[in-house]
Symmetry: D2
Subunit: 305 residues, 4 copies
Amino acid sequence: MVILPKNSCRTCTLTNYQTVGLIGKPEHAGANATLSSLLVYLHKKGCRVLVEETIAKQFQDKDMTPCTLEEIGQQADLAIVVGGDGKMLGAARVLAEFDIDVVGVNRGNLGFLTDLDPEDYETQLDGIFEGKSQLEERFILEVEVYQGGELKSSNKAVNEVVLHHSKVAHMMEFEVYIDDIFAFSQRSDGLIVATPTGSTAYSLSGGGAILTPNLDAVTLVPMFPHTLSARPIVVDASSVITMKISPENADSFQVSCDSHVVLTVLAGDKITIRKNPGKLSLVHPEDYNYFKVLRSKLGWGSKLY
Amino acid sequence: MVILPKNSCRTCTLTNYQTVGLIGKPEHAGANATLSSLLVYLHKKGCRVLVEETIAKQFQDKDMTPCTLEEIGQQADLAIVVGGDGKMLGAARVLAEFDIDVVGVNRGNLGFLTDLDPEDYETQLDGIFEGKSQLEERFILEVEVYQGGELKSSNKAVNEVVLHHSKVAHMMEFEVYIDDIFAFSQRSDGLIVATPTGSTAYSLSGGGAILTPNLDAVTLVPMFPHTLSARPIVVDASSVITMKISPENADSFQVSCDSHVVLTVLAGDKITIRKNPGKLSLVHPEDYNYFKVLRSKLGWGSKLY
Amino acid sequence: MVILPKNSCRTCTLTNYQTVGLIGKPEHAGANATLSSLLVYLHKKGCRVLVEETIAKQFQDKDMTPCTLEEIGQQADLAIVVGGDGKMLGAARVLAEFDIDVVGVNRGNLGFLTDLDPEDYETQLDGIFEGKSQLEERFILEVEVYQGGELKSSNKAVNEVVLHHSKVAHMMEFEVYIDDIFAFSQRSDGLIVATPTGSTAYSLSGGGAILTPNLDAVTLVPMFPHTLSARPIVVDASSVITMKISPENADSFQVSCDSHVVLTVLAGDKITIRKNPGKLSLVHPEDYNYFKVLRSKLGWGSKLY
Amino acid sequence: MVILPKNSCRTCTLTNYQTVGLIGKPEHAGANATLSSLLVYLHKKGCRVLVEETIAKQFQDKDMTPCTLEEIGQQADLAIVVGGDGKMLGAARVLAEFDIDVVGVNRGNLGFLTDLDPEDYETQLDGIFEGKSQLEERFILEVEVYQGGELKSSNKAVNEVVLHHSKVAHMMEFEVYIDDIFAFSQRSDGLIVATPTGSTAYSLSGGGAILTPNLDAVTLVPMFPHTLSARPIVVDASSVITMKISPENADSFQVSCDSHVVLTVLAGDKITIRKNPGKLSLVHPEDYNYFKVLRSKLGWGSKLY
């Protein structure tokens, strides 16, 4: 496969998306139907279509190019993710490195990040192709695990990085530093470090506040803290958050990214979390409204009068 | 070893404890020192001393009988547990089946259940031997896991039974029935079912209320619930609590008792939790005060004037 | 008006309610319609109908006897309250003193206590008249305010007694005793003491646990506590709860019962809260299900499969 | 009194504070002692001393100029506030309009904002006079109440603006707009809108997250919300927050600033909250550490190893 140069005319408002990547849940009837219909839709628009390889075999007889996620990031102007927030998070961890817009069609449960209705996406996508859209950049986190000063492993997270014991309901002991200044120690099941994007996910279940997406901040939410005075704290996203695991801890621990990628952590290890230079460029329909999503997904109060 | 009949004169107020069991953390310097000194103390009192077998080897040259926990339960009038709450909970899960009083000497962190000060226990123990004490019965829970109607495993808990995903930060889906009446379904990391004794432990870290020990009630505390309207609920301890795991769940789950014993649970399984007929008979020094323990352990407010 | 002896045949299952009291929101169109239709319904049943005096004038031309709430309590076998939970609470504070069953028709917002549907109450009431019903006793609280040892004022509460500053968002300082044992001191905006009935009302908004109605327990929920370690605590309903207001407090305070009755409290005053000997005898339709009410009113999770 | 031009050499590191304002709790023995000693200290430094008029009479025989807070703001380079956080907040609401540094000597309870120890402030103040200090700008809020489009009243807040019912434990109904976009409606006792500075005060008692002082964000914390899904939300401090009071509310309401200033609000009124152009310029000793303050004031965890 030849790596083509990116569409150089991204700012034109009409048909600015010439190469489009399709990403989706494999072997999911609903997602398949939407992907098939999107393939027809995109060909009508005259787009070149790249299909992520794990689902490409289902469309072998169609006019499309099977690709890795990275290749989609390099070559496409727009990625359409068909699935739930989990699928979107997985794609976003990779695509955030590239200069590509991303939009989601909801084929999952909640769909905080997947705006488009699978039964009725055409009008909204038409608008997006005509530049009638809202582009929103969401920052993502990178986490590194150090052992004795050596980098052992690293990864990225769109929603949250969670440090926790490798067993449920087991306490661990660690210290937290913000920009190398000691902030607090904690005995707890772990700590959630969430972006604004992740503030409506696991962090919210754990009692964290919602952070609107335009905030350059992360929230630290203790999990089952033993100290009753422990509280969530919101810090500047430009801060480097360091967690030092007590060498006294006999057990093994984990860092998980978006409840998906898992890194192993041992007593005495040091974990740093900071903003990744990449950005997830979410493209929303023109009438997108963050608070409306909160209301419909979280059951917040509707207008009174 | 001959199983002796129990002291038949338990209600006499003087030296009613003739056979005393010693239980403790093995290979813990502080606990060892206390156990050695207790052995001397109990011999002075004229008591027959049974020592739990895992620590008995440290006292091989002394006048004592190595025993299992069950044998201590059968033969002794009083068990003295030297350690933290973890040690006490482990002993209590076994001893609750027997007619035996239990007192703790604190060699751990918090010591909610271990009243006596290791540096100064003699006066308090003297009082307890003279009947100057408070006897408090704490109920315990039993949990059973059923697969297709067949009992698969069971265990007991003094603090709490926790149903959770076998991986941290992973959601599960289940239904809760109270006395066979459907109460609620939940998507969450799991559910804590705590006794009043356990209400100051994991349940409290998860946002549950404190239940005073004399209440005949258990509290159900959701862990990281996805539904924001989920709240802790307190129900009658005579109720049978049933949790049905959705057969849709693809993963494996666990039931843990006092963060110690772990039972495996699979999709479609049914878990029942009810009061065990046994009782933990905690004997406290005469001046024991539950609220004082809460204040000193949890940092509640002291008297103002 | 002559005070008639109560129907002496309350235990017969057919037409056991011979005298029925009607209580409702005055000048509320919806409540009026329901009350008018109830009057017709009850006459058809052959019942003698007492109407609470504040709404009686609307039915002057009808065959009914205007009464005080107390007279309804003395003479009627059943009281039907048409309105929201506020109306029910007001009636219940009085009726709990008497041997009378109480049922509610919901003409308010939430309707935790008012089971019957105003559009379709006849079948359910027919069942209740035929004894096809569930009778549930709910205990109520009494609160007394003492100044220098002298009783200054007192009242009753079905949901909760709240001690608070007379100004919103102002801190006060007090001590709490349970059965004359000092439990904790607190700097906060106040303290909620709620019954199981009230545990789904103000107490729940303040982070308290839900207590099922059959529990003989009350929950103490701090309001905006300054100490971060303050937590809700559930105690035996047979306990006497005493709150001593610091004589250092310069301001004035209030005790409110069900957010309705307000008693004045000054620095140095002592407040006691205990179970009232009266009981609210709620009669529910045969198919009443407490958890179903929780699910429909609080948005708890429905059955999964 | 002549209004002198400000010291034009504020950036010089030595003796840059030539005119110093003293502000304090009147008739408070501890504060008086500190103020007297500060007067001597400042004269030794060669400073011109302005004393806030409510405390000036206590120092009539001394070499100082009685002034209003505004005059101190206009003329002084540094204001020293002796008292608790309440005194500091009151001074800050006025001084934030002016180009003046502010430091506090703690003569109150918590002292989040008053860094200096009254028993040992000299070394720290010496450092501050030598420019060995940290200067931190804290933004403040302004609130406006509109009736039928007309501005009715307005004020400023350093910690928080609270909208609430004029009676404790009474619900109100309102809508919240962020930058004129409808965000959510709420039935609750009210809403706290707190700055990072206020995030460790009332907002924290109400379950809000801590916001580090460098964040340009405000947190909205519901008070006793009736909807169980209501959660604290953190929004950009550049947003305009508008609250519309339901015209259906029959009662009267209040907006309070820092629990001190109270504005009346009626049904149908509109309230806007935005960042004030003024800034509170807090000067801290060189070794000031925000997290250390959190740990010592809130009981957060200390270093482990």
